[in-house]
């Protein structure tokens, strides 16, 4: 019996295997988040065979045109900041193309994006800037513990507009914004829709995870359904790899002829120092 038990414990239950994958045809991957007051930029890469080299493939033959709400077409030149691909500290995002003048945008403005390369790949997308949603209040509450165990949860409250089909993304960053805290990974990053709470007050909370003295910045994005669905489908696709209980999921964006997402960020922020 002891021999059998010993045998049961021997050997690994996870092994490397060789998986011959068929030929894969790469698509253009477009990621563009416009922000009012900031110079428009975007990242154009291509998808790659899964087991190929790590770094993303950045095509150099891509022409990008941004169409403004008034119909003006603006070329975004190829001007990549390759350093951002390997920089793991600054929080600066990679862009392959970038404009020259800050964006002017207001609620309801429609923008269009046109991406084409010399191989005939052509991706297009359209997005609309949504009205920012005010954060009504933020609250926190500490638990009864002391020392390093004393932690608080954090609540963000806002009201959903009467019309259905609003989607939101809330980020909570910890630290001093003046020292670049808002460029780093957030403490909390969640997406919700108003399907079950249309027109009502919405409260989003966290677990006990903030300490006395923390500065918490809440950023509430009012996002398009396409952006919400893109994030959900990216999450589902990631979870399906390595989860025997999940069904493989396609990624849904708003980029026709390619993969990716095009959005205008509409955000409100508020800060709280936890005492």
């Amino acid at each position: 019996m002891l021999v059998l038990l010993a045998l049961a414990g021997c050997g690994k239950l996870q092994n490397d295997i060789n998986v011959p994958l068929p030929t894969y045809n790469a698509d253009l991957v477009v990621e563009c988040y416009l922000e009012p007051g900031k110079v428009p930029s975007l990242a154009v890469t291509t998808s790659v065979p899964y087991l190929s080299a790590v770094l993303p493939q950045v095509p150099t033959d891509v022409t990008v045109t941004l169409t403004m709400p008034n119909g003006t077409q603006v070329r975004l030149p190829f001007n990549p900041n390759y350093k951002a691909l390997v920089d793991t500290t600054s929080g600066v995002k990679f862009h392959s193309h970038i404009g020259t003048t800050p964006l002017v945008a207001k609620s309801g403005d429609v923008f269009k994006l046109d991406v084409v390369d010399t191989k005939g790949r052509h991706a297009t997308a359209t997005t609309t800037m949504l009205a920012p949603i005010t954060i009504d209040s933020v609250n926190y509450k500490f638990n009864d513990k002391t020392g390093t165990e004393r932690k608080a949860y954090f609540l963000t409250n806002f009201r959903d507009p009467p019309a259905l089909d609003d989607c939101y993304r809330l980020q909570l960053h910890k630290g001093n914004p003046a020292k670049g805290a808002l460029l780093k990974s957030p403490e909390v990053d969640m997406s919700v829709e108003d399907r079950l709470l249309n027109g009502q007050n919405i409260t989003l909370g966290t677990s006990y995870r903030f300490y006395p003295g923390d500065t918490v910045t809440a950023t509430l994005y009012h996002i398009e359904r396409a952006f919400y669905r893109f994030r959900q489908s990216v999450r589902d696709a990631r979870q399906a790899n390595g989860n025997p209980f999940a069904n493989p999921s396609a990624v849904y964006g708003n980029v026709e002829g390619g993969i990716g997402i095009f959005a205008v960020l509409s955000a409100t922020t508020t800060q709280k120092i936890l005492r």
Partner: protein, 785 residues
């Protein structure tokens, strides 16, 4: 074909079908009826026992209550009553009038008989019946076979039969002849069990101490069964010892069982109560306590399951019998984090059935039953004053009447009716806070009414030819949507000689309730959804044929069956479907067709010291989901195989009685690797500023066609031994060695991200194969006092 017009036409058909036997009876006035019950040594009824009249080359098998009825010409006969595992009984009879007799069979002294019992299916009976595509399994047989963690599981034993695939390593899920797991009608004493699994499918809900037997119908479905497309899994509970109070139980690697049974009112009835509970949680709590002071302490969640069975029966008189069945099972998963977060997840079935059996005459029995079946899950999260809960359930209230009528020894007529009210709690959500700041809820509930009428006649046209015809009229209503379907069933057997018979059958089935799942596995959060709006009833038809040969002086039965099954309105879900608390859930479905075909070869040996079977299945399963509405279809509308499609499947089961105390068993299974979906490509997402630093290192997989990659072939050898101890041999030690040669079968394959240990940077990607179970020995102690 689904029709929505008047039911009167079908009532007329049933009236004709039920009226036909009256003429047949009028033509045989000189015959007498011999009826009665066959019981075993403890007073338990013996369903499937054979009562034969060799002089007339006729006989019958006892029904599920151990009753039999034969119509014979007047005369002197020698009756032979037999049931494997019991001493054969011979009795002389002078039949001059209708007679009622009871036979009590003594348990055989040959321990092997218990080993090899296969209920109704003595090989000769199996050869002669019109029914094909059915597997009968007694718990005595299942208890001898090696089992994962020593937990005897009657559903997993069924996976060793040809035409039945498992969902994956260790899973109790059944995939029968190309059908999906939700297309199996699982019945416990005739009441539907909506989720027959514990622990995500690793164990079935059926406690081996409480179960008497199970019948699996893969084709040729009798008319009394309906509501699912693929198979019927008919589980019967034991009735309990009618003569003595007996305690049985067992202590195993992961659970313990205790059963108590005995007579009621001096043998007028009997009862059995049985319980089982796992004890993972006792170990995990001890581990948590030991580690709670460590810096990197992360508590292991609590998990356990339990189930309890009750069955009682009582004879109200010579002609009336009451039966009560109850089941309660729960899985409990709980977690409390150091951050004050409490998570509780419970799920399980509750079942109750009350059945009244009335004998109108030796030729006519009627069962009237009312039952309730409920499956639910509840998930709650709590943090300080905030609570958040979701849940779902399905609850059925059913009434049914089933009659069996034997007008002559050439006809066995069955007819009945059933009506079920379904309540589909498709999704419930509530969120609250103590200060009232948060207070909302949502609930999506539907109701359905499900009805059926059926009639069938098993007609023995001659010694060589036996025919069975049946008709089932089904109807379903949910809100203003209503459907009706006519389900013909037909079977025929032609006996070429005493040792060879040919069989064919056809069945059409409708399924009005659908399992909403986005996973290939059985998850407790899967919910049931009625046919309504665009979700039409699923339909399948199956035709099968085969030949059976008795070989080696009746010691072996060789059966070869071929089948073709085709279905429409099969359901699947679009990618990223919103399945929870969605009042427009029907828009998340997509619909397609399926077809499956194959050949099943089966060689059985049921007598002698060495018994067992060899089964081989060659099969294909296909599905096709064309683009529809604004959806692209699955795999671009091309034909594809479901994940459980296995081209080859071989099982070899051997049971050997070494001596009166020791039995040895072995089972071997080989099957083609299951199909899975692997990503072909990937891309990176860097997200908005302030979301992550640089490009998110987690790649986003791009999945092409479904199920385009085949895992390595699956094979496994299990070994077992049962050693009886004690002077009365009423205790035993059961040794199981699961996966004896420690084969690393593939549970799933994924692409791992490789990182530099020092910097955390991604350095590459590699394919990994994950196996679930290595060799697992287990020892179980069982007793009977």
């Amino acid at each position: 074909m689904i029709v929505n017009y008047s039911l009167r036409y079908y009532f007329l058909l049933f009236a004709l079908a039920l009226g036909a036997p009256r003429f047949a009876r009028a033509q045989n006035p000189a015959r007498y009826t011999l009826s009665g019950t066959v019981r075993g040594g403890h007073g338990e009824t013996l369903p499937g026992a054979s009562v034969a009249v060799p002089a007339l080359n006729t006989g019958t098998a006892a029904d599920s209550l151990g009753r039999f009825s034969l119509s014979l010409p007047a005369g002197r006969y020698r009756l032979v009553v037999a049931f494997i595992g019991y001493e054969q009984l011979t009795r002389e009879l002078n039949l001059t009038h209708n007679q009622r007799l009871s036979f009590d069979l003594a348990e055989s002294g040959n321990e092997l008989s218990e080993v090899v019992v296969e209920g109704a299916a003595t090989l000769e009976q199996k050869l002669k019946t019109t029914q094909m595509g059915v597997e009968h399994l007694s718990i005595a047989e299942a208890k001898l076979l090696p089992a994962l963690f020593g937990e005897v599981d009657i559903l997993k034993t069924l996976q060793l039969k040809p035409g039945v695939q498992s969902g994956g390593e260790g899973s109790s899920g059944l995939f029968v002849r190309g059908g999906s797991a939700d297309q199996n009608l699982v019945l416990l004493d005739n009441t539907v069990v909506y989720n027959p699994n514990h622990l995500f499918g690793l164990f079935s809900v059926f406690n081996s101490d409480a179960v008497q037997s199970v019948d699996l119908y893969k084709s040729g479905f009798p008319a009394q069964f309906g509501g699912r497309l693929s198979s019927v899994v008919d589980v019967k509970l034991r009735e309990g010892d009618r003569q003595h109070y007996v305690a049985t139980g067992g202590v195993g690697l992961i659970s313990s069982r205790l059963t108590y049974e005995g007579p009621i009112n001096k043998g007028k009835g009997s009862f059995i109560v049985s319980g089982r509970r796992t004890y993972f949680d006792i170990f995990t709590r001890a581990l948590n306590k030991a580690n709670e002071n460590k810096e990197d302490y992360s508590p292991i969640p609590d998990y356990y399951f339990y189930d309890a069975n009750l069955k009682a029966n009582y004879a109200l008189g010579e002609k009336d019998h009451l039966f009560l069945t109850g089941y309660l099972g729960r899985d409990v998963f709980g977690f409390s984090s150091t951050g004050g977060f409490n998570f509780n997840f419970t799920w399980g079935n509750t079942i109750g059935t009350l059945r009244w059996n009335h004998v109108f005459s030796p030729k006519l029995f009627v069962n009237t039953a009312v039952s309730v079946s409920d499956y639910k899950y509840d998930l709650t999260n709590k943090l300080d004053q905030f609570s958040f809960g979701i849940g779902s359930n399905i609850r059925d209230y059913t009434g049914r009447v089933d009659a069996e009528y034997t007008p002559t020894d050439r006809h066995l007529i069955k007819a009945g009716a059933m009506l079920t009210q379904h309540r589909f709690g498709v999704g419930r959500l509530d969120a609250n806070s103590g200060d009232g700041r948060v207070n909302f809820g949502a609930d999506v509930t539907y109701y359905g009414l499900d009805g059926a009428l059926y009639a069938s006649d098993n007609y023995k046209a001659s010694d060589k030819l036996q025919l069975e015809g049946g008709l089932r009229l089904t109807g379903f209503r949910s809100g203003s949507d209503q459907y009706a379907g006519l389900e013909p069933r037909a079977a025929a057997r032609y006996a070429l000689n005493e040792r060879t018979s040919f069989k064919m059958n056809y069945a059409l089935m409708y399924q009005y309730v659908h399992l909403v799942t986005n996973s290939g596995a059985s998850l407790p959060t899967d919910i049931w959804y009625p046919s309504r709006l665009s979700v039409m009833p699923q339909r399948s038809q199956q035709v099968s044929g085969g030949a059976s040969f008795l070989l080696g002086q009746g010691k072996y039965l060789l059966t070869d069956e071929v089948y073709y099954k085709w279905g429409k309105n099969q359901v699947d879900f679009k990618d990223g479907a919103q399945l929870f608390v969605n009042p427009e859930l029907d828009t998340e479905f997509i619909f397609g067709k399926s077809w499956a075909y194959g050949n099943e070869l089966y060689l059985e040996k049921k007598t002698g010291k060495t018994t067992g079977w060899i089964g081989y299945t060659l099969a294909w399963s296909w599905r096709n989901f064309q683009p529809q509405r604004d959806l692209p279809g699955i795999n671009g509308g091309r034909d594809f195989h479901p994940s459980y499609d296995r081209r080859h499947n071989l099982t070899v089961v051997v049971l050997h009685q070494l001596n009166a105390r020791l039995s040895l068993t072995a089972s071997f299974i080989y099957s083609s690797g299951s199909l899975t979906t692997l990503p072909l490509g990937r891309f990176g997402v860097q997200d908005i500023p302030g979301s992550s630093v640089g490009i998110d290192p987690r790649p986003v997989p791009i999945y092409p066609d479904r199920n385009s990659y085949q895992l390595i072939p699956y094979h496994r050898l299990d070994l077992g031994a049962v050693y009886k101890i004690g002077t009365r041999r009423n205790q035993d030690l059961t040794l199981s060695i699961y996966n004896a040669y420690n084969r690393r079968n593939a549970y799933f394959v994924f692409f791992d991200t490789l990182r530099d240990k020092a910097t955390g940077r991604t350095t590459g990607f590699a394919a990994k194969q994950v196996s679930l179970f290595p060799v697992i020995p287990s020892l179980t102690y069982n007793f009977r006092f």
